[in-house]
Every structure is written in structure tokens, then in C-alpha cells.
């Protein structure tokens, strides 16, 4: 079943046309990976879904409803969570406060909280500390934790493994696998190794256009295609 459809989306940032034609269908369940070089337009695609940039023309359809004109806050309330590239943690707030803001009611669901502690023990250690003092990787963990503290229908994640230690990346992969059983994840990644292990479907974006879509298994097997689209030959 289709969860999210991007339909001939064009996005301009100030006077620059960044996305030229992005058409994409994200099915419900599992991890959908979006790949592409630096500056290809991956982040812009996610931001356009969230309503942080406005695509025009083009539309975003979520569960059959056009959400491209909605305010970001309303998009979020449809059940879409966003983990931005720069993590977007609130440095002046403690870990606890960062997480509280991400809950619907202002109270924690103990089971979910415990699962988060299990995934990222560091968050428990620094619970009452202000987030600016966290290390780069710890901030990344907090950002992901915020997205999964509530049940959601779709999580948009922008390069979550950037700057993470290998062991954490593994933990994160496990976590995503688990989350993706109940929630769809749209994942932007540079770390192809990581993406390969998770993705079911995938797309490559290049210069603001979708250059390829297909199943991850096929793409992982096709070295020539990888080389052409991602300069992976090295």
C-alpha cells in the first residue's frame, strides 16, 4: 500500500531551483532509502515533505491526502516525524526536556522510554544535562530518540550515521529494523554499507531529479549502476 507520494515536485530556494522534478512513491512499512551525492537535493526533498520549503508546482500526498499546503506543525500532527541533518536538538534544554517536547501529552510512555534507554544508554546517563554539552554522536542519538518516543506513521531521517562510532551504527541499524516493523522510515544516507543492510526499496536523486528507483537488492548487486550514480568505484 502506498503511504507517501511525491508528485512532480519542484522546489525553489530563494531564486535557485533546487528540485526540478521529484516523483516518488513510498510504500507503507519498511525502510525506503534515498541516496545521492552532496548537494543533490536529498535534504530539500525531506524539507519539502515537512512543509519547511514549499514545492510549487507539485504535490505531496500522505495516505491519500494532499498535505503540500499544510503548515509544518499540521504535517507533523499527521504522524510524520523528522530528524534533520543538523539534528535540531535544543541545546538549552536538557535531554529530558527535549524528549518531553516530542511527546503528545507531555508524559512519557514507560515502555517506549525503556526501549530508548536500551538503544542509547548514553541518554539515560546524561538525562538531566543540557543538550549542547553532548558529544556529536550523542546529539544524533537524542535526535533519533525524539522521533521514536511516540508512535508515528512515517519517520524522515537525514543522515543519522554521520559521525557515529561503528558499534553505535550497528545498534542504530538494529533499532531501525525494529522500528520499521511498525513504522515506515524514509532514510537519507551517505553510508552505503549501512543503507544496503536496511533498505527494501530505494531511489537515487541527482541534481534535483530522481535518477533511479528500484529495490535495494537489485541496486546493491549492480556495481556499474552504483558507480554511475554515486561514484562508488573507489
Amino acid at each position: 500500500m502506498t503511504l507517501l507520494t511525491l508528485n512532480a515536485m519542484q522546489t525553489n530556494i530563494e531564486q535557485y531551483a533546487v528540485l526540478h522534478d521529484v516523483t516518488l512513491t513510498v510504500p507503507e512499512g519498511g525502510v525506503f532509502v534515498l541516496l545521492g551525492r552532496n548537494g543533490a537535493g536529498k535534504t530539500t526533498t525531506l524539507r519539502s515533505i515537512m512543509g519547511l520549503w514549499r514545492p510549487s508546482p507539485g504535490s505531496v500526498t500522505f495516505r491519500g491526502e494532499d498535505i503540500s499546503a499544510l503548515h509544518t506543525a499540521e504535517v507533523a500532527r499527521k504522524g510524520i516525524a523528522y530528524v534533520p541533518e543538523n539534528m535540531g536538538v535544543f541545546g538549552g534544554l536538557t535531554i529530558e526536556e527535549n524528549l518531553i517536547l516530542a511527546t503528545k501529552t507531555g508524559k512519557f510512555d514507560t515502555a517506549r522510554l525503556n526501549r530508548i534507554y536500551g538503544l542509547f544508554p548514553a541518554l539515560k546517563t546524561f538525562w538531566g544535562k543540557q543538550a549542547w554539552s553532548l558529544s556529536g554522536g550523542q546529539k544524533q542519538m537524542l535526535a533519533v530518540a525524539r522521533a521514536i518516543i511516540e508512535p508515528r506513521d512515517l519517520i524522515l531521517i537525514d543522515e543519522p550515521t554521520k559521525g557515529l562510532a561503528p558499534s553505535i551504527i550497528d545498534a542504530m541499524a538494529d533499532a531501525f529494523r525494529e522500528i520499521s516493523e511498525t513504522t515506515t522510515i524514509l532514510l537519507v544516507e551517505q553510508n552505503f554499507h549501512f543503507a544496503k543492510s536496511l533498505g527494501r526499496d530505494m531511489a537515487v536523486i541527482d541534481d534535483g531529479r530522481i535518477a533511479h528507483t528500484g529495490s535495494m537488492a537489485d541496486f546493491a548487486a549492480d556495481k556499474a549502476l552504483q558507480d554511475q550514480l554515486l561514484s562508488l568505484s573507489a
Binding site: 552532496n38 550523542q138 562510532a165 551504527i169 561514484s231
Partner: protein, 255 residues
């Protein structure tokens, strides 16, 4: 063996009750590239901050070429030949790429206090800045403000600033984080080049194992602020303890 250019003695910093760097003793020599690895929050960036002066040590010493620099301000340390690039990009956003680099060059040459001659009359300055622009392949965007660059180019500029400072000690903090694969080799080549100059000492924090393997002469491992292992790359990477705390399963697969 050459004299160490940089030595830390019992270097420690506490934030409240939390000890982020704990009694680290380490020596770094010219001509050697040391990669520092460790889990997130191990204290790698903090260790850099203590060496370059962004944070003041709670106890312990930092010694550069026999001179103790522990109490010096960051700018004084920079003038003593300690240079670093930052993990989170840290530039002069509204100044052009060229101006960014020129600033680093002129800090090194001590021209900051020239008051009344126009910048353009300093030919040597311009020539040097030009050189680093070319080295980092930023010539095309030299006149754009730094904030207008895409992420990858900003990371490169971060590296260019460090190069232009021409320090004795180079410290890179995850220079290729978030950089796509087509850009990464440029930066790695630059670092490798510095390594060839035998008078320079290089410290590198990096999580990407292929990068570590390609560049490291030596690896040290930090964990919970403590020095856990120190030695030749193969030796360190294959030790059980490093696998446990740092590499996890993927480490095993890769090793």
C-alpha cells in the same frame, strides 16, 4: 626516535561530576599521523579542545616542543603552531571563501596589526591564499560567501583554513563527516600530503574505518575519557577490547 612535538601529561577535565578526559598521557611525534578513535562521547573532541585551548584543563599539562602551553589562550596556542579544524563546521559565514582563507594566512604572518595599507597591496598574502584555494579545489567559489557553499564544500573550507594556518600540529576532527564519496578523496589526499612533510604532526579523529586504515601510522583509543589502547593500527584494531567498546559486529566483519 625524534623528539615528541606534543606531550600531554595527566591531562584531565571534569564537567561537574563527569570526567570527560581522564589522566591522558600521550606523546605525538613529527612525521607521524595518529588517528584517535573511540565511541561517541569518549572525549575525543574534548581532548582536542584541551590541546588547542577551547577548554581549560582541570589538571595536567600540555607541552609543545618543550614549552608548557596549558595556561595559554587559544590564540596564543595557535601562534605557537597548534592548528585545528572543527567537527561542526565553524567558519566566517558572511565573508567570502577567499577572505576566510586570507584571514588564516595573515594570522600566521602576523599582519593583523597592519593598519593603514590596503589589503590588496600584500602580494604574498594573496599568492598564498590562492595556493590553498587551489589545493582544496575551491577556486571556482572563491568569491562566494562561505554560508552559500554546499555542505561538502564547507567541510573543505574548514580544512583549507587549517592548512592556511601552516601549523606544526594539525588536528582534524572528522573532516569527512557528511561528505559524499566523490568529495572525500580530495580531502584525504590533502591529509596524506601533510603526512609527507616530516616536520609536521597530524592528529585525526575519524569514525570511517576505511579512512583510518588508509592513513593511520598509529591509533589511540579513548573510552570514557581514558586512554584505552595505543599502538600500530593492526595491533590496536584487532584487540578484543577495542572490538568490544568501539567496533561492534561490523568491526568483526571488517577485520
Amino acid at each position: 626516535m625524534t623528539q615528541p612535538s606534543l606531550v600531554t601529561k595527566d591531562l584531565t577535565i571534569r564537567f561537574g561530576g563527569h570526567v570527560a578526559v581522564n589522566q591522558v598521557n600521550c606523546e605525538f611525534r613529527p612525521g607521524e599521523l595518529t588517528v584517535i578513535v573511540g565511541p561517541n562521547g569518549a572525549g575525543k573532541t574534548t581532548f582536542f579542545n584541551l590541546i588547542s585551548g577551547q577548554l581549560a584543563a582541570s589538571s595536567g599539562k600540555v607541552v609543545k616542543d618543550g614549552v608548557e602551553i596549558t595556561k595559554m589562550s587559544p590564540s596564543t596556542r595557535a601562534r605557537h603552531g597548534i592548528g585545528r579544524a572543527f567537527q561542526l563546521t565553524n567558519l566566517f559565514p558572511q565573508l567570502s571563501v577567499l577572505e576566510n582563507i586570507r584571514l588564516a594566512v595573515q594570522a600566521h604572518s602576523g599582519d593583523g596589526w597592519r593598519l593603514f595599507k590596503p589589503v590588496s597591496s600584500y602580494k604574498e598574502l594573496a599568492a598564498k591564499a590562492e595556493r590553498y584555494l587551489e589545493a582544496t579545489k575551491l577556486t571556482d567559489v572563491a568569491l562566494l560567501p562561505a554560508s552559500a557553499l554546499p555542505h561538502g564544500d564547507q567541510r573543505k573550507l574548514e580544512v583549507a583554513l587549517l592548512m592556511a594556518m601552516e601549523p606544526d600540529i594539525y588536528m582534524f576532527d572528522e573532516p569527512t563527516a557528511g561528505m559524499s564519496l566523490d568529495h572525500t578523496p580530495d580531502v584525504l589526499e590533502l591529509i596524506a600530503e601533510i603526512k609527507h612533510d616530516k616536520s609536521k604532526t597530524v592528529l585525526l579523529v575519524e569514525h570511517k574505518m576505511d579512512v583510518v586504515r588508509a592513513l593511520a601510522d598509529r591509533i589511540i583509543v579513548l573510552h570514557n575519557g581514558e586512554l584505552l589502547a595505543d599502538g600500530a593500527p593492526d595491533e590496536v584494531m584487532s584487540s578484543q577490547i577495542v572490538r568490544d567498546v568501539y567496533l561492534g559486529k561490523s568491526g568483526e566483519a571488517a577485520a
